[in-house]
């Protein structure tokens, strides 16, 4: 039933359907995040009476959580390479680590949002606040879906049903995970590190 065993000879291009579909989907996601990032860029200076981005961003904190997400890409690829070797134990370990790092990132985001809210930046405060929460919120939802998929894999591994022949499944979830990571690489630089307007 594993399709990686059968698709190589069955498809025209030799690529598996699933992986090709994931890459097409990721190409599509570029346009989605591009639109959200552009929206933010148009609005980052329009903070009405509320806090400005330059006043409120906590660069050291966000740097740490960005680093956490970056390292989760490493653990993700290690999970894959373990499974490709048939090393179920390490695969399980790295899957769980990746999910935990992802959760840590989400936890940081929740903390950041709460802090901003206390400092007077609500979702409806200004075009800047709406755009900021929408962009980072969309990214957070993507990470959360990734965590769900990783945990599903982890549980399936505990039940003994995630074996070497399923490594393409982990690889495809990994592609999604890395993509979410590189989107954050972009967001971290363009939204946080590039100096923002202050009030």
């Amino acid at each position: 039933m594993s399709d990686s065993a059968t698709t190589d000879h069955a498809t025209t291009t030799g690529m598996s359907h699933n992986k090709l579909a994931m890459w097409v989907f990721l190409g599509s996601e570029c346009l989605l995040f591009g639109a959200l990032i552009s929206t933010y860029l148009v609005y980052r200076g329009r903070f009405a009476d509320g806090p400005a981005p330059g006043d409120i961003f906590d660069i050291p904190f966000t740097s740490v959580s960005s680093f956490v997400l970056l390292m989760s890409s490493l653990t993700m690829v290690l999970a894959l390479s373990a499974l490709q070797r048939g090393d179920i134990r390490n695969n399980r370990l790295w899957l769980l680590t990746t999910a935990l790092l992802g959760s840590l990132f989400i936890g940081g985001q929740v903390y950041e949002f709460t802090t901003f809210f206390r400092e007077g930046l609500g979702y409806t405060t200004s075009p800047f606040s709406s755009a900021f929460f929408t962009l980072t919120g969309f990214h957070g939802v993507h990470v959360s879906i990734g965590i769900l998929m990783l945990m599903s894999m982890f549980i399936s591994s505990l039940r003994g049903t995630l074996r070497k022949e399923h490594s393409e499944t982990v690889e495809i979830i990994g592609l999604y995970w890395h993509f979410v990571d590189i989107i954050w690489i972009f967001i971290f630089t363009v939204i946080y590190l590039v100096p923002s307007p202050t009030s």
Binding site: L31, G34, S81, P195
Partner: protein, 109 residues
């Protein structure tokens, strides 16, 4: 996983029996990514003047493509994947840069 035929075709690539780099290589990549991130964050503390934004952009692009090339295996995989991804990326950048231009984003920020 790319098929064995494609590995045979890419003879200029270091002749590895398996498609993917070793775990040690992944750790190396991660270290470089970590160092780049540290440098990026350092720009927050050290004033480098007008070089700031170009420097940040270069480091971002390097990080971006390192993850895509190594962790997402685009270096080793079928080039059609790269084509799809890069099409989306280039299209997004082009379209949104033009849209931002009509907002006079680059001149007014």
């Amino acid at each position: 996983m790319s098929t064995t035929e494609t590995t045979e075709e890419q003879e200029e690539v270091v002749h590895d029996d398996h498609d993917h780099p070793s775990d040690a290589k992944y750790f190396q990549i991660a270290i470089i990514l970590g160092v780049l991130t540290a440098l990026e964050v350092a720009t927050y503390y050290v004033d480098i003047g007008p070089a700031l934004i170009p420097t940040l952009m270069v480091m971002m692009v390097v990080k971006f493509f390192m993850v895509a090339a190594w962790f997402m295996h685009l270096r080793f995989d079928n080039s059609l994947f790269t084509k799809f991804f890069v099409s989306g990326l280039v299209l997004a950048v082009a379209v949104y840069v033009i849209a931002l231009s009509t907002f006079e984003f680059w001149s007014k920020g």
